[in-house]
């Protein structure tokens, strides 16, 4: 097993976790690596939107795999062959990026809530995705907060990136997540601040204070951006606007992923 698992997590919703996960996966794919993205937020899936996938285009899903109706190789959607037409996403044409989406059908989401999740099957899916697609990196977009799916993805990760906003509620929750990640022996634990105010940008003392609070490296501070809000998850922002301040800050994270042991 050589491919690395990268979990992107946040304790609270609305931090920009899925935007960060999809853009990071895309940036890593642009370097020529083989990349997968799994949406384990089965209760409230959303990352497929950033890859231009809708219900019509969506074939087999993680839900089908979990219910034994599909093999994981049938679930991987080749984004490089179907970029969905966005100006940013089109840059992924020919790249090896596979999305493993969760179902957006109400009945299938309610079935998971009703029946629960076979974690042996979910873990088998994650590990088999790496081997069958020969992935260098498998990104996991987790459900915000701490539930069992999230803990499983953290436990199996080589790299955990926690996204937080400069907000006291996020700080307290992040502290809990960091403690749990440490107790699960995640080898590489990083923090990335998103939606930072202008007063937080390019301020080493701000980064140091967060690092002191959590005893973990802050590898990026991404600004609060109206341009990102305007993008409204229609496209992969960092590919569409590579010179934007947010995109540059996001790209600061990539070497930490590529160089992690």
């Amino acid at each position: 097993m050589t491919g690395k698992i990268v979990s992107i997590h946040s304790f609270r919703g609305g931090t920009g976790k899925s935007n960060a996960a999809s853009n990071l996966a895309a940036q890593v794919a642009l370097t020529g690596r083989r990349v997968g993205v799994v949406d384990t937020d089965i209760q409230s899936p959303g990352i497929h939107v950033l890859f231009g996938l809708d219900e019509q285009k969506m074939g087999k899903t993680l839900n089908d795999f979990l219910h034994g109706k599909a093999a994981i190789r049938e679930v991987g959607y080749p984004v490089g062959q179907n970029t969905g037409g966005g100006e940013g996403r089109d840059k992924l044409a020919g790249k090896e990026l596979y999305l493993f989406p969760s179902s957006i059908k109400g009945r299938e989401i309610s079935q998971i809530l009703k029946d629960g999740v076979d974690f042996n099957r979910l873990n088998e899916g994650l590990q088999t995705a790496i081997s069958e697609f020969n992935l260098d990196y498998l990104f996991i977009d987790t459900h915000p907060g701490l539930n069992e799916e999230t803990l499983l993805s953290i436990a199996t990760s080589d790299i955990l990136i926690i996204i937080l906003r400069p907000d006291n509620q996020d700080f307290q929750g992040t502290s809990v997540t960091v403690d749990i990640a440490r107790s699960l022996d995640v080898p590489n634990l990083f923090l990335a601040v998103n939606k930072a105010l202008p007063k937080h940008m390019n301020r080493p003392e701000f980064n140091k204070e967060i690092e002191r609070l959590f005893n973990a490296a802050v590898i990026s501070v991404m600004p609060l951006s109206f341009d990102m809000a305007e993008n409204a998850s229609q496209d992969l922002f960092s590919l569409r606007f590579p010179d934007h301040e947010w995109s540059k800050a996001l790209k600061d994270i990539v070497p930490y992923i590529l160089n992690a042991k």
Binding site: M1, E55, I104, K105, G106, R107, S110, L113, K114, D115, G116, V117, D118, F119, N120, N123, E124, Q127, T128, E148, E149, L151, L152, I154, A155, T156, I180, S183, L184, D185
Partner: protein, 125 residues
């Protein structure tokens, strides 16, 4: 007529129903047990000789001495957190995660919701 693989697969699946570890339990394990469980989460299944090879290839500080490895495997197997098929040198280990339970809401609520959602597209939810 089922082959050897089918029989082993069935044996593992039957044993997996008998318990398993939750992701939260993993965080509470002693370091040596957690080391093996993390390894097994990534490898899914592993033979005993292969596990010894992997252990020998680890940096010295991370390595478990053979007696400790055997003791850890025994404890994890006793708890049904690992499933062992076969014995001693021929043993194959497989991780066993406890299933996440479904909702405890009354069944009628789910069938009512199911009927409501029949044929609805995401945009109409």
């Amino acid at each position: 007529m089922p082959g050897l693989f089918d029989r082993l697969d069935k044996e593992i699946k039957d044993k997996q129903r008998e318990g398993g570890i939750t992701p939260l339990d993993l965080a509470a394990l002693p370091p040596s047990l957690r080391k093996i469980m993390r390894l097994m989460l990534r490898e899914l299944s592993m033979s005993y000789p292969r596990m010894c090879e992997v252990m020998d290839a680890m940096p010295e500080a991370d390595r478990l001495p053979r007696a400790e490895l055997d003791s850890v495997l025994s404890e994890l197997t006793d708890q049904f957190w690992l499933i062992r098929i076969g014995e001693k040198e021929k043993a194959i280990y497989k991780v066993n995660l406890r299933r996440k339970e479904g909702s405890k809401l009354a069944a009628g609520i789910w069938s009512a919701l199911d009927n409501k959602l029949k044929g609805k597209s995401p945009g109409s939810l």
